[in-house]
């Protein structure tokens, strides 16, 4: 009977392949350095703040106080579980699978100038919860600062939703037609983190926004600008379920906007993310008996700035002045 139950649970939670390119090449965010970090970021405070708010979930934290340029964040246990599960599935060893101690972040931003460049001074403090003692390695301040600096640099200042053609280029000449060949490669970035807990289960069909990571230049002419809107849509969203069944987020890519405003179809490997790589139901049952049936699976979390390699589908003629 127990084996039949196990087989049934296995069938109910099939495995899906996971894969994405992490932002700025940092696949596993680990604790490092002291509990305080202060660094200059060459961008206005509001831009750095936007990046900071996108970076916090990557460290398993959520904002609990936002007072303009002073922000405080607490740990989000659900997010931490997702990150821990993902790290564990990737092969990160250790009891905490690469995660650091529980604690609070305090962040302050102010305008600053360094070497004649205007920007912001980002001050991050990480306060470990008292009871954890020496557990959980070192500080989280440096990884948060690094992730923030990464996203500030990586994501454009353009808002693709309001300006889908991307960042404006100077010295535009007269318009002339240029052929955008089939299979032209391009890279897009996820603008905001995706977290299955925040998505509705009937989200399938809804749009997912990306931005183009770098200009696409053909024969010296810019055809698609950095920051241009690329869109996809959710193909499947499933929330966590009992008996250890993990959440799922699947999405496909649809189109990218060229300099003349055309929506050109794109193709790429469809994203299929699952909260956990394996069904651990059997292990749970072994350890917890029937109580394991009431254990929920893990949510899916995809970091902002995650990049995807796409290709243009079909040949198109684009009017460009660049």
């Amino acid at each position: 009977m127990r084996r039949f139950l196990g087989l049934l649970l296995l069938v109910m939670s099939p495995y899906r392949l996971r894969g994405e390119t992490p932002p700025c090449g940092i696949a596993i965010v680990q604790t490092a350095g002291p509990n305080t970090d202060e660094r200059f970021v060459a961008a206005p405070p509001q831009q750095v703040k936007a990046a900071l708010l996108k970076a916090l979930p990557a460290l398993g934290a959520k904002v609990h106080k936002d007072e303009g340029l002073h922000i405080e964040a607490d740990p989000d246990m659900g997010l931490r579980q997702s990150i821990q599960q993902k790290n564990k599935d990737s092969g990160v060893r250790g009891k905490y699978a690469g995660l650091g101690a529980l604690g609070k972040f305090t962040m302050d931003l102010r305008e600053a100038t360094q070497d004649g460049i205007d920007g912001s001074l980002l001050h991050v403090e990480f306060h470990k919860n008292g009871f954890v003692g020496r557990l959980g390695g070192e500080g989280y301040a440096q990884p948060l600062s690094e992730e923030t600096a990464c996203l500030t640099k990586l994501l454009s200042t353009n808002d693709p939703a309001s300006n889908p053609r991307g960042l404006e280029l100077k010295d535009a000449g007269p318009l002339h037609p240029v052929t955008l060949p089939d299979s032209t490669p391009l890279k897009v970035l996820l603008r905001d983190p995706l977290y299955s807990k925040k998505l509705e289960k009937d989200s399938a069909g809804q749009a997912v926004n990306f931005e183009v990571a770098e200009d696409v230049v053909v024969d010296g002419a810019t055809i698609i600008r950095r920051g241009a809107l690329a869109t996809g849509h959710f193909t499947n969203v499933q929330k966590t379920k009992r008996a250890g069944r993990h959440a799922k987020i699947d999405f496909a890519f649809d189109s990218v906007t060229t300099v003349d405003g055309q929506k050109v179809p794109v193709s790429g490997a469809n994203e299929q993310s699952k909260g956990g790589r394996h069904s651990e139901t059997m292990t749970y049952i072994e350890e917890g008996g029937a109580f394991a049936l009431f254990v929920k699976g893990t949510d899916v979390f995809i970091r902002a700035g995650t990049s995807y390699d796409l290709q243009v589908s079909g040949q198109h003629t684009v009017q460009t002045g660049h």
Partner: protein
């Protein structure tokens, strides 16, 4: 880990002919053909030893040096945590070590890269350090610094230094027209290291031609030309001892003028399934047998595959 190479001919469309099938027992399965031993350097042989901190000059620009260091580190079973402009670091992961059949250990490897000019030659100085994982004190069980640098130096010599994906086109409109016969052999090498978790269905995988393909004294396909393959039917390791699977379908080689010359070749990649007897034995003593998984597979950077041109093709080549 099994690599199965399959190719189909236009006359027997839909029929796949197994050209070579073998189970790799070496540390790394690098090629699908018997002449894998003819490589310029030994990409198979990775073994620990030497000093924990080693510095070496690689005659490659920093972006390429970073790529080869990342590939070389992964060939020692490292899961990359960080792959930034100047630092590449990660820890050896059990899942990868098992697939690559390397000695187990708790090592972390870190590489720091700096662009330099040495003896008038531009390149990259790379410092590789082997540590214990999670910043633990003490000496690591094995030292991989020399192995990583040897592997990286090998890849620098074996593969193109520039990125074939972003190569400028060279017009050949006034060039000589030559006929490329159907089934002309085209040896190709993997440009990067791939573990099964990196492969998703529909993902494009870059390869490059391993040597010039010469026809009638003209170089029809220069060495280092971009070859594209796409992943089909990828599935990861699964419960009940199932190993990872994927199929690579080679599509085309990009000629210097941008022409895409169709290629023929399919590679079945299969991680080792868990032994049924082991599963049965586990089933007797505990229920958790269903949570036992099989193994993944890896394609090391520089792995050699033999493909064929698909159909008779006319191409233009530069007169130079």
């Amino acid at each position: 880990m099994t690599f199965k190479f399959l190719a189909s001919t236009p006359s027997k469309r839909g029929i796949k002919l197994a050209l070579a099938t073998f189970v790799c027992v070496a540390a790394i399965c690098a090629a699908v053909s018997a002449d894998a031993a003819t490589q310029a350097c030994a990409i198979h042989e990775i073994s620990p030893g030497g000093d924990p901190v080693v510095t070496r000059f690689l005659p490659a620009p920093l972006p390429r040096a970073r790529e080869v260091i990342a590939d070389a580190m992964q060939a020692t079973g490292v899961l990359l945590f960080k792959d930034t402009e100047q630092v590449v670091e990660g820890e050896r992961a059990v899942e990868r070590i098992q697939v690559l059949r390397l000695p187990r250990g708790d090592e972390a490897i870190r590489a720091m890269l700096t662009a330099v000019i040495q003896d008038g030659q531009a390149g990259t100085r790379v410092l590789v350090e082997t540590l214990r994982r999670s910043n633990k004190k003490g000496a690591p069980k094995h030292v991989w610094s020399t192995a990583v640098l040897d592997q990286a130096a090998c890849l620098v010599s074996l593969l193109s230094l520039d990125d074939p994906l972003h190569r400028a086109k060279i017009a050949a409109a006034d060039g000589a027209e030559i006929l490329v016969a159907d089934s002309t052999p085209v040896p190709v090498r993997s440009r990067h290291f791939f573990f099964n978790t990196d492969l998703k269905t529909n993902k494009s995988i870059p390869f490059e031609t391993a040597e010039d393909v010469v026809i009638d004294d003209s170089t029809a396909i220069p060495a280092g030309s971009l070859v594209t393959a796409s992943v089909e039917q990828a599935s990861d390791i699964g419960e009940y001892g199932r190993g990872a699977k994927a199929q690579l379908r080679f599509k085309y080689v990009v000629l210097p003028d941008g022409t895409q010359l169709p290629l023929r070749g399919i590679v079945d990649l299969q991680g080792k399934n868990e032994n049924k007897a082991t599963l049965a034995a586990f089933a007797v003593i505990r229920l958790g047998v269903l949570s036992i998984t099989g193994a993944g597979f890896a394609i090391p950077a520089g792995a050699l595959f033999h493909l064929e041109v698909d159909g008779e093709q006319k191409i233009r080549v530069s007169r130079e």
